[in-house]
Symmetry: C2
Subunit: 504 residues, 2 copies
């Protein structure tokens, strides 16, 4: 067969896989936004059936044959760039999926799904020992998988690479240490300072309907394209790219704390803008989605924090917020409001953490995971190690394991190596922001004028359009001209919080 | 292989096919209720991909092998009844799908999709000649298909059987002639009578939100199970069974004519109750949906007309309707309202026709289709033939083809043999209703008391639960103890309309 035919057949198979993935994504969205409960069990079966088709196709003999043929240098070099990147990605997935014996993988999937259920109960009962045997098995499965997948240097690198291709312990140790060195003392200084912005002004009864309408307004302002998306309500908010022309945002309305809807919507909008602006040339190639968890998170955090917690942004929207809040902010100055939405204080729960302390929560998890996979820590010692680190970095002690080591679902679902993406996203965002401000020096003015199109277009041109065509570290280099550099995040946080907390 | 293994493997393949169908159904619902428009083209590709998978699986060598093995009498007789019916249905589909050469079928699908687009334009421009060549090709394709599929007796029977298994021209001629004989003179009598119920009371501005809330109320009253469904807005209302635990209703709100939402919702609810009450044992076997278009329509028409246009039903709901209509019916008596929602007069457009004249619209289409497929009428002569029949049966003349032969999409989509199901549904409904009233003599009282659970349960027990386990004519026989008998519909219509129009 000639190259064109092989390439065409390969792309046809990819299109089939991506079609199944699109159907799965829609079913997932539907289950989380309003599918009737009596149909859910059967729906799960359908999702299982299609997922297993996807798995079979990605690990099929046919796929292996395409990989072998298309990666021969003399053929590979004749392919266009999209097919090249597609086959690279496919090869990586093939190796990841085919190296684990099928029976073992099946056992692992069943274990992690059981374990998530046990975690819920363990957390509710503050009972770490209930979960411990499950975590031990999950860790030992993942250690075996690392052996199957292979590693150079640190074993934990193999897990990191799953979520953030190219990321290593060496790099993370370097940036996280720099971050700790500067943020831990700053957090302490704030804790000891006498200035305390009053955030009690944020809590009042804010009708759901109004929060919804304000969310719609804000999405429009952020240049979210409603002809390629929609907003729905859910319990655990998410954004989902079903295809680049159909990227949906979900949010949650808490009538006693409007921040969850507003900042949640802005955060998910950041994810959604990424997916909406991926080049449609990539549809069906396996490349039409965000390139990594970290880069994805950089987009959501950019919007949530650099836009959504920016003073100029609220200069524009504060009056409207006050209207939707039926006048609740009548007697609160914009400055006080800005202070209130930017309160920084050490807290126990990651998902409630503020912009300043958030990365410390992540670093703690990273250090524990790294120790687990380098045989420097045993699962049974996790609770103590956890609490020690919270004391050391955040100066607070979890009163129990429910508010400590049991708070996140990730480990019980077998996701080790995922947490660092959250902090990476933050660092990427600050680094991108630094470059963006050189191109767009009137950034704050644009926020105040509601001209966010310029900002969205910059992100689309520099990051979004590429989908998985570029690896995360490649994007960082191409956009900012340098390697990952944590200094930008440190500078941003120091400037912002020293100003708010009136520190020298 | 032993029988158990073959049966298990066959059912596994059916489950796969039905899983794909479920995903397709959800995508279809989503496209019609709020999917963002920029994603639609790609979504259509995904639907196309999955539909072609379904087609391939139902016509595969593997499937043929199962059919051959499982239909051998000594094996077939050992299967349980569900597998027997499933394999019967599968065999029928296999024969239908595999007898047409694949290239020819593809050409036909492309032609009918083009032709639907041409129809829209032709209708807008009142230009039959624009559509004529397309219709000619579609008819000639269908004639060829009939040859492939085979026929005994009348060729048109083969088309009828696609939508209403077992139905024949002989049977339809008999019942339609009886119907015409009694309804045509009755319509004429009404046209000539001096009594004219005033339906102007129905037209006023009725806020969409209120129509929506009233629709929700009515669905609950009709025992629609919201934990196995939901109500959404759409342009062309439909109900869809995604699985028996997820059956969704859609409706349309016309603020100037609330009847479209209310009677539309009740109609779709009838379809939905059918799908919600199919036995869950049938999921994944190819039998978990309504047995035919006609029986499906009998359920929607039963609710729309026998329940929704019943005096006792409105005795219960009239006050609430008036509240939602913000008092618009304050000065309209229930009797006048009842007269207004039951006005019968000949009209040009099928989908706007009333309960009395509706069947005549269908009979006209049936007679024209039958003539086309028996070479007694050419496509080019359709407009004249159409107009003559409207004069003869309904005593009105279409002023143009847009309001005549071009009004329905069906023919341009290649659906010949479908129209009779609408009238069959009506006849079935009246016949079922006659039997139901023997079991439930206090039917009207139940409507007045809002005890519709008894009625729903009767339908579930006698009709719904079986899905495709019974053929339509088998259901009619089992439920009513006799063959299809049009006398029940005639009696119902005569009684109802003679009373309303005060005729002797």
């Amino acid at each position: 067969m000639d190259i064109q035919t092989i390439e065409k057949d390969y792309l046809q198979l990819m299109k089939k896989i991506e079609s199944y993935n699109e159907a799965i994504s829609l079913m997932f969205w539907d289950m989380r936004t309003g599918a009737p409960k009596k149909g859910l069990e059967q729906r799960s079966e359908v999702i299982g059936m299609l997922s297993s088709d996807v798995f079979k196709l990605t690990t099929s003999e046919e796929m292996l044959e395409y990989i072998i043929q298309l990666t021969q240098p003399e053929i590979y070099n004749q392919l266009n760039e999209i097919t090249q990147k597609s086959i690279d990605e496919t090869k990586k997935n093939y190796e990841k999926n085919s190296k684990i014996p099928q029976e073992e993988y099946k056992e692992y999937v069943i274990l992690s799904s059981k374990s998530e259920a046990v975690w819920e109960e363990a957390k509710a009962n503050d009972d770490f020992f209930m979960l411990q045997p499950y975590l031990e098995k999950l860790v030992s499965f993942n250690k075996k998988f690392i052996e199957y997948w292979g590693y150079d240097g640190n074993k934990y690198d193999t897990l990191l690479d799953m979520y953030e291709p190219g990321m290593t312990v060496d790099k993370l140790d370097e940036v996280f240490n720099q971050l700790k060195e500067r943020i831990v003392p700053l957090v302490k200084q704030i804790q000891e300072s006498n200035y305390n912005p009053d955030d009690s002004v944020l809590f009042f009864s804010f009708p759901k309907e109004n929060q919804h309408n304000f969310s719609l307004d804000i999405l429009k302002e952020l240049e979210y394209d409603f002809s390629a998306g929609r907003l729905d309500e859910t319990v655990h908010p998410f954004a989902i790219g079903i295809n680049p022309g159909d990227v949906r945002v979900t949010t949650k309305y808490d009538e006693e704390d409007f921040r969850s809807a507003i900042f949640g919507t802005i955060h998910e909008c950041g994810h959604a803008l990424y997916e909406q602006n991926i080049s449609s040339d990539l549809i069906g190639t396996g490349l039409a989605s965000g390139t990594s968890m970290g880069i994805h998170e950089s987009q959501s955090l950019f919007y949530e924090n650099f836009v959504g917690r920016n003073y100029s942004f609220w200069k524009r929207h504060y009056n409207k917020l006050n209207e939707y809040a039926t006048g609740a902010f009548q007697n609160v100055s914009l400055d006080d409001f800005y202070g209130a939405i930017n309160v920084a204080k050490p807290s126990l729960i990651r998902i409630e953490a503020d912009e300043l302390t958030y990365a410390l929560h992540i670093i703690i998890r990273y250090e524990l995971e790294k120790a687990l996979f380098n045989d420097e820590l045993e699962v049974k010692d996790l609770p103590n190690a956890w609490n020690e680190k919270y004391e050391q970095y955040l100066n607070i002690t979890p009163p129990n394991n429910a508010k400590g080591v049991l708070q996140d679902v990730h480990w019980s679902g077998g996701s080790f190596g995922y947490f660092p993406s959250y902090a990476l996203g933050y660092m990427y965002a600050a680094q991108f922001f630094n470059t963006m401000k050189k191109d767009i020096p009137n950034f704050d003015q644009l926020l105040e004028n509601g001209e966010l199109k310029v900002i969205k277009q910059w992100l689309a041109d520099h990051i979004h359009q590429y989908g998985k065509m570029k690896k995360p570290l490649e994007i960082v280099k191409d956009v900012t001209g340098e390697e990952l550099n944590v200094q930008y995040l440190i500078d941003y946080l120091e400037n912002k919080y020293r100003t708010i907390y009136k520190l020298v």
